[in-house]
């Protein structure tokens, strides 16, 4: 017996479907709204908690904002909180790492895309991907075990003693290794995107392949490479656990001596986590706020520079 589909469709089906559609759309919109507003929540709450210690009727005794921002001493035990030198230390270590990692990253990217023989390319790409996927705490163990020993030996040659190798230099080396894969992979993308015709044009003018790579390819990929650097330094600022393992947490500063111990914003936030209330607890939010401000401002400045550099040609 032949039956028709039409007879089976229940009346009101289509209207029900429209209603479900509307409900699902609302639900999914709410999900997106939650995802999108997380950043607002984070900023708002950390701001609220972070400025508390500086408000006049703070329960544990108001902290002077000026002393906090420009202080050169951090003594939790004495209730002295000066974050000024820590900001400088953070900037020194992050930019030091960038200075070290940037040329190596760009050269490696160039090698992978343009110079390496075919079979080596995927191998090198895997190396970069592997470096990117190693968790920071593992880098921390490596730094505490190997980099500190390296620094100690280096210091011993120059007749300087270190705190077991924990030092500004160790932090810089560690961060350089950690931001290397970020800058490299973005540089690879940028270099791969360079128009082949540009290269051919340069070659046709009699430049050698290597000259073309360094003068034409790198210049054209400039903006993408720079974006990698910005991302990399963001990671350097925010890196916490690994840095805290080799920073040494100096109480005053700033630290300019490569072999001296240092203290970054993140290592400060991880040090002495015992308290769960009081000024000692709340001040951590203030440090977090300063960290976010440092990241934001350096991002803005670097993006401005990027625009300037990009506009030059």
């Amino acid at each position: 017996m032949e039956e028709n589909l039409r007879d089976w469709i229940k009346p009101g089906q289509a209207i029900r479907k429209q209603k479900t559609d509307r409900a699902v759309r609302t639900l999914f919109f709410l999900a997106a709204l939650i995802s999108g507003s997380c950043i607002v929540l984070i900023t708002f709450f950390i701001l609220m908690k972070g400025i508390q210690p500086f408000l006049p009727n703070y329960a544990y005794g108001t902290v002077s904002l000026k002393d906090f921002l420009f202080g050169t001493l951090w003594r939790q035990d004495q209730g002295v909180y000066g974050v000024g030198f820590i900001v400088i230390n953070t900037l020194i270590s992050a930019f030091g790492a960038l200075l070290l990692a940037f040329p190596i990253s760009v050269l490696t990217a160039l090698f992978i895309v343009k110079i390496a023989p075919k079979p080596i390319k995927p191998f090198m790409k895997t190396v970069v991907e592997l470096l990117a996927s190693i968790p920071s705490v593992v880098y921390g163990v490596f730094a505490a075990g190997v980099i500190t020993t390296l620094v100690k030996t280096l210091a011993a040659y120059s007749g300087i003693s270190t705190a077991g190798g924990s030092s500004l230099l160790a932090v810089i080396l560690l961060l350089a290794i950690m931001i290397f894969p970020t800058i490299t992979s973005l540089s690879i993308t940028a270099i791969e995107a360079v128009d082949r015709d540009l290269e051919l044009g340069s070659l046709a003018l009699g430049a050698t392949a290597t000259q073309t790579h360094f003068k034409v390819v790198l210049t054209s990929a400039k903006s993408g490479i720079f974006a990698g650097a910005i991302l990399g330094i963001g990671r350097a600022f925010g890196e916490a656990t690994a840095v805290a393992m080799v920073a040494g947490n100096k109480l005053f500063g700033p630290t300019f001596n490569l072999f001296d111990i240092t203290r970054t914003l993140t290592s400060t936030m991880l040090a002495g986590l015992k308290e769960t209330t009081g000024l000692d607890y709340d001040i951590r939010f203030s440090v977090g706020l300063v960290l976010m401000a440092v990241i934001l401002i350096s991002n803005l400045v670097l993006n401005l520079i990027k625009k300037k550099v990009g506009n030059m040609n």
Binding site: N4, L5, I9
Partner: protein, 251 residues
């Protein structure tokens, strides 16, 4: 002649651009209407108005009326989902779902809440037979539809549309991605299908239009220049532009 679609003063805008201008057209029931014209003339856009697929496009605004069997499909009260169960569509590129042949055809009925195995079996067999595909695939109904050839995939898509027992089947250049033999099979199939369904087909090929259609509408720059019986259009076009296009002077 019974009327299937009655289009009255249809305008379509993409933002500021007017893509369809004051279209008026009558499409007869159980007939094959071919829409011809150069690329970008709006014939595909018009086709998608007939089952309101343009609703999904942002910035797309439509005025005017389209009546399907006396009912304005652009009416506030019209349920789009219900409309689409009555107006099936076959696309330029065969697009079977990445599932079995059986599931592809049962997809539409299942979406309407049909779960009865017996009925689904019947529908699948009947649809495949109507699409002249049953003999080729009856032993592998549960194999992936992606393994079929292009022509078979397109016939599967037609079967999938037929499964819904629609009033109309819209075909958007259904053979443009197929080889001549597969194309011939589809054209044969259209001949069969028009006994039961109204078919509106967009085509680039003059020959195909003259082979398969009863009526033809010639589109140019978002307007309908001329519409008439296919025989008349191809032998004695009234408009100079139609004549130029048909004789291959442009397009």
């Amino acid at each position: 002649m019974e009327t299937c679609f009655e289009v009255k003063d249809l305008n379509l805008y993409y933002g500021e651009n007017q893509a369809l201008k004051h279209l008026n057209l009558t499409i007869g029931r159980n007939r094959v209407m071919a829409l011809i014209g150069p690329s970008g003339c709006g014939k595909s856009t018009f086709l998608r108005c007939l089952n309101r697929m343009n609703d999904l496009i942002e910035n797309c605004r439509i005025t005017g009326e389209i009546h399907l069997l006396e009912q304005n499909i652009y009416d506030q009260k019209m349920n789009v989902v219900q409309l689409r169960t009555k107006v099936g569509m076959v696309f330029q590129k065969p697009n079977p779902f990445p599932m079995s042949i059986y599931d592809n055809i049962a997809y539409g009925p299942r979406c309407q809440g049909v779960k009865e195995k017996k009925l689904l079996n019947q529908i699948v067999e009947r649809s495949l037979k109507s699409a002249a595909l049953y003999e080729e695939v009856k032993d592998r109904l549960h194999d992936s539809a992606m393994a079929l050839s292009g022509g078979q995939q397109q016939r599967l898509c037609i079967a999938r549309a037929i499964a819904m027992e629609p009033e109309v089947i819209l075909m958007d250049e259904p053979t443009s991605a197929l080889d001549p033999i597969a194309t011939a099979k589809i054209e044969e199939l259209i001949e069969q299908l028009k006994k039961t369904y109204t078919i509106v087909i967009v085509t680039h090929s003059m020959q195909q239009a003259s082979r398969v259609s009863d009526d033809t509408a010639f589109f140019l720059l978002g307007e309908i220049v001329e519409t008439d019986k296919t025989l008349t259009i191809f032998s004695k076009p009234k408009d100079k532009r139609t004549e130029d296009y048909i004789s291959g002077r442009f397009g």
